[in-house]
Point group: D2
Chain length 349, copies 4
């Protein structure tokens, strides 16, 4: 079987593995206070153009989300996001388990707009019994979103302006950030994100690392005492250097960006095939996730050879599914899939 179901089916990029193996028997201080973490953090700060930012390495995305949000909010405050936001539907109530409500706005494409944020916040403040409702204090976005879409620079600037004008924090979940930055048509850079968000993370788990997310905190209020919160939530790895070593490797000589671009180009190739075959998408996209809508019969055939994700039923005979490429996807796998698609969906054959 060939796996296109997600971007974390393999281990890590060869260079990351080599870095881990090469440092394996070194003795270092624990809990992220080693020189590899320091080096990796330095490289990230430089790439972000934010020498003042705090950088912390966490093991995974849910852990990063819950720790950041718990650090940012007082008890009566909530995190606002799209209804499709990962924290709302796919983290078993991790944010609520820290005591905070996730407030949602509807979204067709996984994004949330500055206007939506403003509407929610002003409505809250105008409510005569506002103290009976949760106070929105942080906006959570993911980029790319759960539906593979990307914020434009203009959208991100508007969100950032609105959040800061209203006294809210802007938090960007970058579990797949590399695939967003490397997408053809993306106009947002890492320094843009570091400038516009109070806190965000650069996802490693899905982009070449065994595991790990690099949390970048430009807002010093959020950074205060953050290591206590990492520890309290069980996220402080004894051998913290494993995170430092991996991110150091990924951030050296542009490896992170190069392997993300590699995956995006394979996705582009696949996307082009879908387009050519007039196969519609649930949502358009330019990153490593594709959500084509295919006939059940075709999907049944494909599932004999390929693993992919069910997204949703569209009508009685069609379902939207998800295909992902990643840094580890082999070009031949994409070629095979394209060929099979042409065979199954192509007019002539």
């Amino acid at each position: 079987m060939i796996y296109f179901n997600n971007d974390y089916a393999e281990g890590c990029h060869q260079k990351v593995l080599e870095a881990l193996a090469g440092t394996n028997m070194e003795q270092t201080p624990g809990y992220g206070e080693d020189e590899y973490c320091a080096k990796a953090a330095g490289k990230i700060r430089a790439l972000c153009g934010r020498e003042d930012a705090a950088v912390h390495f966490l093991v995974g995305g849910t852990q990063a989300n819950l720790t950041v949000i718990d650090a940012a909010l007082r008890p009566h405050q909530g995190a606002l996001c799209a209804a499709s936001g990962h924290i709302n539907g796919h983290e078993t109530g991790a944010v609520e388990a820290t005591g905070h409500k996730v407030l949602t706005v509807p979204s067709a494409d996984g994004k949330i707009t500055a206007a939506q944020v403003e509407r929610v916040v002003l409505a809250h403040r105008a409510d005569s019994s506002f103290e009976h409702t949760v106070q929105p204090k942080l906006v959570y976005i993911s980029n790319p979103t759960e539906l593979g879409t990307l914020y434009t620079l203009a959208e991100l600037e508007a969100l950032s302006d609105t959040c800061h004008k209203l006294g809210l924090y802007l938090f960007l979940d970058g579990a797949r950030l590399g695939y967003g930055l490397a997408a053809m048509g993306n106009d947002v850079t890492l320094p843009d994100i570091a400038r516009l968000c109070d806190v965000f993370y650069i996802g490693g788990t899905k982009v070449g690392a065994l595991f790990g997310e690099a949390v970048v905190m430009g807002n010093p209020v959020l950074a205060e005492d953050f290591r206590y919160l990492i520890k309290q939530h069980g996220g402080m790895l004894a051998k913290g250097r494993l995170l430092g070593v991996q991110f150091d490797a990924l951030m050296t000589d542009g490896l992170y960006f190069e392997i993300a671009a590699y995956a995006d180009r394979l996705a582009d190739k696949l996307r082009e095939t879908f387009h050519r075959l007039n196969i519609p998408f649930l949502v358009p996209g330019i990153t490593n996730q594709l959500f084509p809508i295919l006939p059940d019969a075709v999907l049944e055939k494909l599932s004999e050879k390929y693993v992919f994700c069910e997204q949703e039923r569209v009508d009685e005979t069609h379902r939207a599914v998800r295909f992902c490429t990643s840094w580890a996807t082999r070009p031949e796998a994409v070629d095979a899939l394209c060929a099979d698609l042409c065979r199954l969906c192509g007019g002539e054959s």
Copy 2:
């Protein structure tokens, strides 16, 4: 510098590294639903003599502690442990962050007795306003303890009997379990633990793995829906197979027990040297942790060459410190330390 300060200064055992490297580019399902986790769990069940036990792999000790305790308790219930218990003093209130009070009893050697448990529980029940106090429902012990001591089989049986007679769960934190099982003089086996505890874990982080703790749940009440709790607390590794691969390697051909014994024998050698030099211990022990009481002047000298942990000041001129050996300790390092100790403390010899 030579590190004796803890047992997690290096990466992982060579065989674990080889297993990770050898499986790196395989594609597997995520979140621990891969065949490596299944294989490792099977080996652990067999070694425990509990084919009925649920086995879950978590990343680290604090994460394991908070997730197990949160899964076990209703809101008004607390975990009872020695005041020196790791959950009480070294996890930044991780258990309290899940809403539960840690109840403590005093302990000179890090252990808690069946009589103490019974006293606390009966006093709670006899209190006319018992509903105004937290209900003890789970006993947390570590074995070896934070002070390197071990429970005897008789002590563990008494604790288990008392807990079950009183309707409490017994939870054993085995972050250093290998070093306990392999200690000369230990009379407790892995099947004993699996039989006597409702839940316990086999520590990998400190015994040969990059990271990972294998939680073994003999009590099916605790196991129900446990994966939800792992996810909610941010402990579900996307590439869960990393845990499976590592524990599979450690549980193959007795590797885990062999490397733990190796560390214990080095500790024995060091212990013998302290004994020979009439250097007293803060607490006696037989595992890989040693807590000698040394003159400040000697410690100052030693600190030029060795890294060790401060434990506590004993009197105006002496401090107790901690030296650890591990699976990664080199025999020459122990030889050097022994020689230096003889030179510094030996008089003639």
Copy 3:
């Protein structure tokens, strides 16, 4: 000004006040362990036809909701309700503050159907990554709902059957239960509710008491150790007898039901006037809450003399508002309002 904005603008019914005054200097045990609580609980059990039920008195609705839900759920479980449910939008995230997500389904009339519950639960169980989502375990309904609507016996039976078939608890918030039971057209009795719900409460705050809600737990699983949870959440009144004395008075000689019927009849009179004037309602209803849709100009006039609640804007010139009657509403106040409405909205005038 005449208040129609809610049903808690006054103190308590004269008989309740007399009971409080009459027992004021008696000495009783604290924390609800007095004979008045016992007597009131006995009367409630008898009225419910459930001699086996546990009865606990809490001070207010939010307190009752959060304490019951926290007692019922394990950490990964959530409460399912209509999006308009009080716990979802008007309790400042009180349920989330206990760690639990509130799961919602859309509802036009404030009610949730058995079919909705079944759909949500089956979809959760069919999800291949169900452990990444919150497990629905309790259904929260209010009766009357926040929109003044009532469940029919058939609806309530269907909900109860579905919940129990699927292993969920059914919890009914009866903050305004009296007004529901006494409504013309209601076909649900107190014994029906006690038979069909695992837990519910009889609201006192809005029906004649100074404060207080009587929680009735027919399901013994929920009742276990409930007093600990009351205390933990700050809900255990030192002078618990205040609750017992009030409910004893309300449950004597049908006072509770009589004063609720009185309020409902006044609401009926007002409702009839709206009908006669062809004033539409946001939602139809038969209890003490009315949600007429009125022209802004009329509302402006009315607001010079009456206090009412804003509900929502309906179109550019109309708003839905809420008028409530209560046990304390004076008939002359209703007459005056009816007369003013006729004058302002009536054809002739």
Copy 4:
């Protein structure tokens, strides 16, 4: 039976009852936004000499404690108190249920010293792995303490200075504050407390009210958004005016202080009798709580006629018990008890 077991066995002072009855049918806004709350808050601010303070009325002590502490702390921070502190042992883990650890220091008399606070905080900061432990951020004291002792002005000033020098909040639980202020020998005034504490409360439940604690927040950081937290924790009384009316009555013409002094004088009389009979105390005191140590045989005799509280066993034939007077204690009850004590313990005299 005559109750000396606590100071909340009766309802409320006659003047409080009259105020409740006299305002019973008035219509007021809900949730504490009525004029009675405003008036009572104004009187309290004036009595405290702090026109800038925020005043909030809560229903009970545990509720006040958990709400204030949850409002004050970030997740990794804890409340420091004497081991005998009410929040540590008698509130069913209410503080932990909000996610915060209660940190304790030993205390023989229920008080905590500035030196103890400094020691704990400096030790925390000096710990090389401080992030693995809970950060002390708030000092909780009660005055009078759970053992009936009082802070002197010098002690309170030292505590306040130390807290503020170290960046901690000082929170005073004044559940029995009236009895402390009115004690013969007390040198602390209400303005002193308002000046020295960041937050404290004036207890009503035990001093003449049916229920209610007036939280006074001199530190504006703590006051921010406090009403959200009251609501979230289920503490926002719909008929909030009940609290306003009661505190307005208590704070009018010195009623609160007068009735507290009355109780203290009765306690003084009883205390004098114990002294005269050479009956020792577990802890000396000057407020309305007395902790005499009496022979079991005497206690058995006394228990035929009086209700008192068990405190602790002192030796094989003696127990310490608690006798309380209150605003409601009848002088004849004290006379009878004194006479019986003389008879039972007096020998000749």
